[in-house]
Every structure is written in C-alpha cells, then in structure tokens.
Symmetry: C2
Subunit: 347 residues, 2 copies
Amino acid sequence: MAPQVKSIEWTDGKLSLLDQTQLPVDVTVEEQTSVEQVWDSIKKLKVRGAPAIGVAGAYGLVVAMRDKTTLDAGAFMDELQRNADYLDSSRPTAVNLSWALKRVVAAARESGAATGGALLDVVRETAEAIHQEDIELCRKIGEYGVPLIQDGMGVLTHCNAGRLATSEYGTATAPMYLAHQNGVRFSVYSDESRPLLQGSRLTAWELKEAGIDVYTITDNMAAFVMQQGLIDLVIVGTDRVAANGDVANKIGTMGVAILAKHFGIPFYVASPFSTIDLATPTGSDIVIEERGEDEVTHFGLRRTAPEGIKVRNPAFDVTPNELVTAIITDRGIIKAPYTENLKKVFG
Amino acid sequence: MAPQVKSIEWTDGKLSLLDQTQLPVDVTVEEQTSVEQVWDSIKKLKVRGAPAIGVAGAYGLVVAMRDKTTLDAGAFMDELQRNADYLDSSRPTAVNLSWALKRVVAAARESGAATGGALLDVVRETAEAIHQEDIELCRKIGEYGVPLIQDGMGVLTHCNAGRLATSEYGTATAPMYLAHQNGVRFSVYSDESRPLLQGSRLTAWELKEAGIDVYTITDNMAAFVMQQGLIDLVIVGTDRVAANGDVANKIGTMGVAILAKHFGIPFYVASPFSTIDLATPTGSDIVIEERGEDEVTHFGLRRTAPEGIKVRNPAFDVTPNELVTAIITDRGIIKAPYTENLKKVFG
C-alpha cells in the first residue's frame, strides 16, 4: 500500500520526474535525458517543493556528468562546477537546490578520487544520500505524528506539504500516509489554497492517488466543516519556524489556526529540522513576499477581477506560536514553551 | 458622486438591465424589449440578487402588457396573470420574484380599473413603487450604518450584498456608498468569495466604479489583513436572520466573523426587514443548500481538482449570534439580546 507515483524516480541510474504542472488532469512522468532538460523541469515547476528540487538538482549533476568519465579529475571537477552553477540558475532563490548542488560538488572535491569514473561514483552516491536522507526525514516526521490520527478522525490540511514537494511521504502528509499504511480509517479535508490551488491540484490528487479518503473544499469552507464537527485535528507544513515557534507558511494558514482555536481543535505544524531557523528570533522578523497581482485578479488565464483593481497578494502569513498546539519534527514532537524547547533540540 | 451604473434602469418607460454575467470584463446594458427577453435575463443571471430580481420581474410585467391596452379588463387580467406565471418560472426558488409578481397582479385586480389602459397604469405604478421602496430600504440601511465608517478606516466585506444585487446602494454596501458621498476617506477589502467569486467579479467592480478605494483579496487573506491592522470593521449582507440573531449568509461569512472576534474587530450584518425571519427560531433550523461539485472542482471551465475527488460545497453558513456585533436594518441598528430586540422591532 505504498504511495504509487513519486515526484522523483531514480531507477537503474535513470532519473524520471513527474510533471506536476499537468496535475491534476494528466499524470506524465518524463525521463530526464540531459542536464538541460533537468534545468527546464526545475525552471518550469514540473518539479517543485524545496526538498524535491534539491534532490532533483543533485541527480541532475549525475545526468550531466555520466558520459564524462573519460575526463581527467581536474577537467571533471571543472565541468561538474559549471553544471552546478548552471542548474543553480534555474531557481536562484531555492535554498535547498543551492545547498544540494554545493554538497555534491564538495563531496567530489573532498573525496580524493583521481579519475572521472571514480568522481562520478562520488557524485552519484552523494545524490542518492541526499535522496535517502529526505525520505528518512519525512518518514520520521510521519512516525512521530502517526499516533495523532485515530480511526474515524477528520484531518484538515492547507496547501501542499505533501509527497509531491519531497521525495516521499511529505511533511504534513507523512503522518497521514503512515496512518493509512497502518490501516487507520480517517478523512482528509484539503483546502483549495488560492491563489495557486496547490491544495486541490496537488494535495487532493496525491492523497486520493494513495487511496486516502479526501475531500476538496474552498478555503472559506474550513470554518463550516469545523463547525459541523468533521475536523479533529489540523496538520500543515511550514516554510520557516522562528526561534520562538512562530510559523511562516502559505497564506491562509494563520486563518485556519484561528478557526481551529475557536473550535477547540488542535493545530499541528510538521517541520523537518532544516526548516527550523533559530537565527530568526520571531515571526515579525520574517519578510512576507508579496507576489504579482495577476494571481489574484485571474484564475489561470481568465480575468476574474476588474481591470485596474488594487490587490494584496501576500504569499505567506505568520501564525503566532500561541496558536500552535505542537510542532511535529523528525526529532520528536515539540511543544510550548517553544523558545526553550526548540533550542534544547535544535540549538 | 452618485453611483454610475445601475443593475436596473427605468427611464421614459424603458427597462434596461446591466448584464452582470459579463462583469468584470465587459459593461453591457441591454434594453429589454420583450417579456421573453426579461425572462431570459433573469434565467441567465444577467440580473441577480433577490431584491433586484423582484424589481426586474415587476417591470417585466409592464414590458409584457404595454401594448395590450386595447384589451378589455377581463382579457387584460388573464394576460397579466399568464405573464406573471411565465416570469415566475424563470427562477422558481426566488422568493422576491414571486412576491413582486403577485403584488403587481393583486394591485391590478384590486384597483377596480375598468380598461386595459387604466390597468396598465396600475401595473406600472406598482412596479415603480416596488422599485422605489427597494431604493428607500437600502438608503435607510445606509443612513443607519454610515456613522460606523470614519476617515482612515478599512472595511472588509464578503460576497456581494451590493448595489448590483438591489436597485441602488445595496445592503452591506449602503453605508459605504453614503460614507463615500459624504466625503469620508476609507478603504474596502473585498473577499474574492469562492466558489463563484461574487466578491472579485461584482463587489470590487461596483465599488471601484463608484470611486471607492477597494482591494481584492482571496478569501484566505482576510486573517492577514486583519493581523496587519488594516481592518476596522466588517460589514456583510445576509440571506436570512433567525429570530435569535443567527445569520445565514454566503459560505465563508462565519469564518470571517470568527477572525474578526479574534482580532477584536466589530462584525456587522446589514439586513432589510424582509430578510429577518422571526418564524425561524435559530440558525440550526436553516437548511444549508449543498450545491454541485463542479463549482469547487472547476474554475470556470477549467478543472482544478482531480477527477472523481469528493467535494463539499455548502452555499451558505450560519454565523452564531454571539459573533454578531450588531445588525444594521432599515429600522435602526439592532444589538444583543437579539431574541428580545428583534421581536421588539420586527415582531
């Protein structure tokens, strides 16, 4: 009963990516035969989600270098660095991509391998390690979170912090996949997540694909399903957790947290250690990216608001720590007082 | 500085309707030259909103009968009744439409007018009275609500309880139009209102058209703008107010009320007397219409959720009376205890 379609497949030395831009209408898996194709897949958001982009980039270096084994070590390293810079330019603000590419290059450099062939082995092994670590991280979040989901429960989630954004399991979805594997029967309510609809396009798709009972609702129906007694807990992902436990995540998350508090429903945040940023003291130190107007004034290509209308389009919001019941991490479940407890585990 | 485009124009005996299905992209005003055209305009939602449909239907009878003045009184009344039944079939569940048509027919019947020409006068005068009363009702809501809006304030609204849904002023928007006429400077944040987007398509359009400073936001940004201190009050419309002050309105309204309470922002409901239903004891006695799945799985014609996904699509929600700061009616502002105070004014 393992998840069936993966964002990233690495089989017999071949890299395949699921084209997420075609979801939920078409399921297209594309083998990546050149580094240019990998660059293009990242650029065009065919693969998206910070962890998944990092893994795809690392494998992109294997694709780039696999027929360069006749180069001597110096020429191989020059070519590896050139390709790392090239892949990094596909999404310049993606921290995980840059981190993964640097890690592969550094591993090769520090390996002492003397031939192109030996260096390629290091590149491949490092990419595979990054991939396995990501899977393991998500699996651990799932293991810590899985006892929260019991038979008959309803779980609400917002946006996509799912398998599609990582290698497997996802973060917010990891407890759901593990509960489902364990035979627990529960339902998920997936907020649509305007403006870009990651909830209905991606989360609803991947949970349904895995055989989990899932409903799509528009964002403004969350209060209704809570009032009807259909929701027992909320689990969302996060883009950054500040040192005091304030949580930045996709716009709309804070509203869900306030509704959950109103109805006495626990609100959990799933986060790998790498997303907990002790260097950011509080949520007010997090700059909220304001994105382009077209996302709000249009739906796809169709205009849905008047020409010239003023718009707000914050991509994220910050949920204050007092609304967070607990943070489910790969190192255990962290509760308030967050400043103390996050420092203890991640400091 | 009066509002410039009206949902319904009645000038020199000619009926013109704004085609609201073309908004916000095209502004098309269509003169109605036959009763079949009026039927079609109501059926296709070119004119929508309970009060506006009632007024359009009443004028539809004038359009139907204006070249029937040579009929004798009995034949005229038969023909009038036939046309009323026909118009009523355009939207069978629209209570205001049925009410307005019956009122026109009854006025003609009870007038004692003895000729087709005299009966037509009664039909026209009754339609004009229905129109004027609707304008007056909304204007009074505006007059009672206008002191709430002060210079520099931000007002959040949900869905469309605006001028487009009535003859003029609207209900939730009436205090805004009057404040604007008085030179008060304020901003409105208009929730998009998925699934049918009445907020971005209609409310944002009509307020912008009137020169009011208005922003479109997606529904899940309401908490963010409140957290940023941009919202000083919320005003929404309603489909029904129960005897205890529970308020049924477009899905998403209750969520906004909970957010407003969390941030200490007053939450007002604008309601004409005709929407206050003392025969309904509480909100739990109101049946929530669940609409078709396509509205949630699609955006316009584009599929945005997976094939076969389960969906919830409640059209309305019920905001409990304890979240309602006050109800702005055409007979004054009503506050808690609602059971007592609503009965006092409307019982």
